[in-house]
């Protein structure tokens, strides 16, 4: 079934509005994924195997519905019992630490970003499975390789399942109103757009508060668009630079164009403000667009129709200055059934299952394997396009240096976010903010 771009929105809205299970995904899942002819590896499933998996909780319903549906399919086919726990994002890392350090509990753990690198010595290597999937599905995206493989090796620590990214979402009518047809790529023009939007009564907003995803993503964007970075290739802290100062000064100007209160926003702050019509532009994952499409409220649906998406402005960066938060599946060495676990993950990554899950979530967890980008649903709605390339990026948390416990700690401790927040609020000078943050980052990198 092919859907033209023109009627995609109406169909999408109708399908999503009528039931929480979108039709586009369910129909198109199977035959639109190009695959290479590769022999399926045979993992010798242990006798009497049963699996326990922990993964992040859903943000949108189909994520959980279709994950469960696929899992039931696996249970029916293999007779291997699989118990899946959906754990809230905040609790995920503490639970992972407990499982890893006690060597008991879940066989498979799905967690964020650098986690596989932190627990590398406790994980079953996944090279065989990753190479098979890569060969069959057109190869892995750069971010999948970065996060899945041990730094500078070809050994796979974990299997990336997907990742979300946060491009610009904006109200087209409001942006047009102030004389722009789309979001400009140049930083000065982008600032001009923001100033005009604010004057027109439709300011934009992006969190520099303690919002793990949004604020870190926004501050990384500020750094990368100015060619600034936290550490160099060797993992030496290079944050205190003239590029960082320039980014801080730019952020200060940008902050003046935002709706008040963004420094207090958590990860839902911009979603709420955008959906209430208080702001006209923000950076966010597909969940915001998805929930507006799905809304029973006609006014919100009209908002979704007026919402357009685009990659974040490039600034001085040559490539898209936008990373993604990948989730990866790890199998622990303490598991009694590592082969069953591999078989389960393989099953979930095959197109019959993965395609269904991916398209039903409108790419909420965007694919780590290139072949899935060919799925029809990505073209069904042009607004999904910036989300499709989530893992096709050169940038990652702790960019330029190795992925490590230190790069994760800088993110978790809001080191860069607080640097921007304290400078844009005028609490300290940009120079002092950069020094302070560099000092904090150095402590984490020294330990690693």
């Amino acid at each position: 079934m092919t859907i033209s771009r023109r009627d995609s929105l109406a169909l999408g809205a109708a399908a999503l509005g009528a039931a929480s299970i979108p039709l586009i995904g369910a129909r198109a899942a199977f035959d639109d994924v190009p695959t290479a002819d590769v022999k399926t590896p045979e993992f010798k499933v242990e006798k009497g195997a049963s699996l326990h998996m922990i993964r992040p909780a859903k943000f949108i319903d189909p994520d959980e519905i279709f994950w469960k549906k696929n899992t039931e399919e696996f249970i029916k086919k293999t007779g291997i019992e699989v118990k899946v726990d959906f754990v809230s994002w905040e609790d995920l890392r503490p639970q992972l630490a407990v499982v890893a350090n006690t060597g008991a509990g879940a066989d498979i753990f799905v967690s964020f970003g650098a986690d596989p690198h932190i627990y590398a010595d406790k994980l079953v290597e996944m090279t065989d499975l990753a190479e098979y999937l890569g060969a069959k599905y057109g190869g892995w995206y750069p971010l999948s390789l970065l996060y899945g493989q041990k730094w500078k090796t070809k050994n796979w620590l974990a299997l990336p399942l997907g990742g979300g990214t946060g491009p610009v979402l904006y109200r087209k009518s409001w942006v047009n109103e102030v004389g722009y047809t789309s979001i400009p790529n140049e930083l000065d023009k982008f600032l001009d757009l923001c100033q005009k939007l604010q004057k027109a009564g439709h300011p934009w907003g992006m969190s520099l508060g303690h919002a793990l995803g949004d604020a870190n993503g926004f501050s990384e964007w500020l750094l990368w668009t100015h060619n600034a970075f936290v550490v160099d290739e060797k993992g030496k802290v290079a944050l205190d630079s003239k590029e960082t100062i320039a980014a801080l000064k730019y952020a200060t100007e940008l902050q003046k164009t935002m709706i008040p209160g963004t420094l207090t926003w958590n990860d839902v702050g911009n979603n709420q403000a955008y959906q209430s019509g208080a702001i006209g532009m923000t950076f966010n994952g597909v969940s915001l667009y998805y929930s507006m499409l799905k809304s029973p409220d006609a006014k919100v649906q009209a908002m979704a129709a007026d919402t357009f998406t685009q990659d974040t402005p490039y600034g001085f960066s040559k490539v898209k200055p936008q990373s993604a938060a990948p989730i990866s599946a790890m199998i622990f060495k303490h598991s009694k059934y590592p082969n069953a676990a591999k078989e389960y993950i393989r099953f979930m990554m095959e197109k019959e299952q993965y395609g269904l899950w991916l398209s039903s979530c409108l790419g909420y967890w965007c694919q780590p394997l290139k072949a899935y980008s060919k799925m029809n649903f990505w073209n069904s709605d042009p607004k999904l396009k910036p989300f499709a390339g989530a893992l096709d990026s050169q940038f990652y948390d702790g960019y330029k240096g190795p992925i490590s416990a230190a790069s994760a700690a800088v993110i978790a401790n809001y080191t860069v976010v607080d640097m921007f927040a304290s400078a844009v609020s005028g609490n300290v000078t940009p120079e002092a903010a950069a020094k302070q943050a560099a000092r904090a980052a150095e402590r984490y990198y020294k330990k690693a």
Binding site: H210, L212, G261, T264, A412, R443, K447
Partner: protein, 322 residues
């Protein structure tokens, strides 16, 4: 059996008895028996108090991270914290927060207790309702406060701006350091009042009405009755309530973590939230433990101050009160 036969029986027993076995002698030893009876308690204390505390102390002197057991590094964590402006801000925040919130809670709590001590209609119902803020799980009420302080959806801002037209813009409660701190203190006071009010009310009820009657006969004024009868007799329970309240407030975590998460840019972190932030999400277990350990001297100091400063009573030293 009369006294004589009993005596004879006893005598015979002592004469015919074999020398005590080692077990009997050990169990006859008073010191051993005392030790034996204390054993369950000691065990409980060791497992549930000493071990976690000891582990915390040990962790604070290691560079443990989540995932790595870490090595002993002496006082390095503390030395680093001494130079860490965010840590010092959390210390001053905690002291400020505890002091102001405690004063607020006791002033309003005492006032409420005095009001509730009068004969008013629906007394039982009102007393039950007063407890509500304290009964509701803190996380729930924190989320309610988070909405109240929201920069876009605040009910307070709505009333002031859209209903009363007193301001043009919504109030940015949590966006800058000082308003954010005060907002948290208000929420903490709101939550703490019931505990103080109900405890002090219990104290008020134990004061014999005859004292007030006697004072009335002596022609004492309302203030004199309060100053000379209510306050001194309320002191013992006030000291206990104050100690507990200070401890709760000093180690408060949920309210701050749910409302500001330490933001904006770490200016509302308390020691407890900073310890958690660094130890669990930040994975720096050793450093987090060091922050938590740094709370101990403050807590001991605050407890001693409350206990001996406010209510130096004989019963607190194990004697009867007079």
């Amino acid at each position: 059996m009369d006294a004589t036969t009993a005596d004879i029986g006893l005598q015979r027993l002592t004469f015919t008895r074999k020398p005590d076995g080692i077990v009997t002698r050990v169990f006859d030893n008073k010191a051993f028996l005392v030790f034996l009876c204390l054993l369950p308690t000691i065990g409980l204390l060791l497992v549930f108090l000493t071990y976690p505390l000891g582990l915390g102390l040990w962790l604070s002197m290691t560079d443990a991270t989540i995932g790595q057991p870490g090595e002993f590094i002496g006082f390095d964590n503390f030395v680093y914290l001494m130079e860490d402006p965010i840590f010092w801000m959390s210390v001053t925040n905690t002291i400020f927060y505890t002091t102001v919130a405690t004063v607020g809670k006791f002033a309003l709590g005492l006032w409420l207790a005095l009001l509730l001590n009068h004969h008013i209609p629906f007394k039982a119902f009102l007393r039950a309702i007063v407890l509500l803020p304290w009964i509701v799980p803190t996380v729930l009420s924190s989320i309610a406060w988070w909405w109240i302080y929201s920069p876009q959806f605040s009910i307070v801002s709505y009333v002031i701006v859209d209903v009363l037209h007193l301001r043009d813009t919504y109030i940015n409660f949590l966006g800058t350091p000082w308003p954010a701190r005060w907002s948290l203190i208000v929420a903490n006071i709101w939550r703490g009042i019931p505990f103080v009010a109900i405890t002090l009310l219990a104290g008020l009820q134990t004061i014999s009405p005859s004292l007030y009657e006697a004072a009335l006969l002596d022609g004492a004024s309302g203030w004199q009755k309060f100053r000379r009868i209510t306050v001194p007799l309320l002191m013992p329970i006030l000291a206990v309530a104050l100690t507990l309240s200070v401890l709760f407030t000093f180690s408060d975590f949920q309210l701050v973590y749910a409302i500001t998460r330490g933001g904006p840019f770490n200016t509302t972190h308390l020691m407890a939230t900073l310890a958690f932030q660094r130890a669990i999400p930040g994975a720096q277990l050793g450093e987090g433990a060091a922050i938590a350990v740094s709370m101990i001297p403050f807590l001991i100091g605050a407890t001693l101050l409350c206990f001996f400063g406010v209510g130096r009573r004989k019963w607190q030293q194990g004697e009867a009160n007079d």
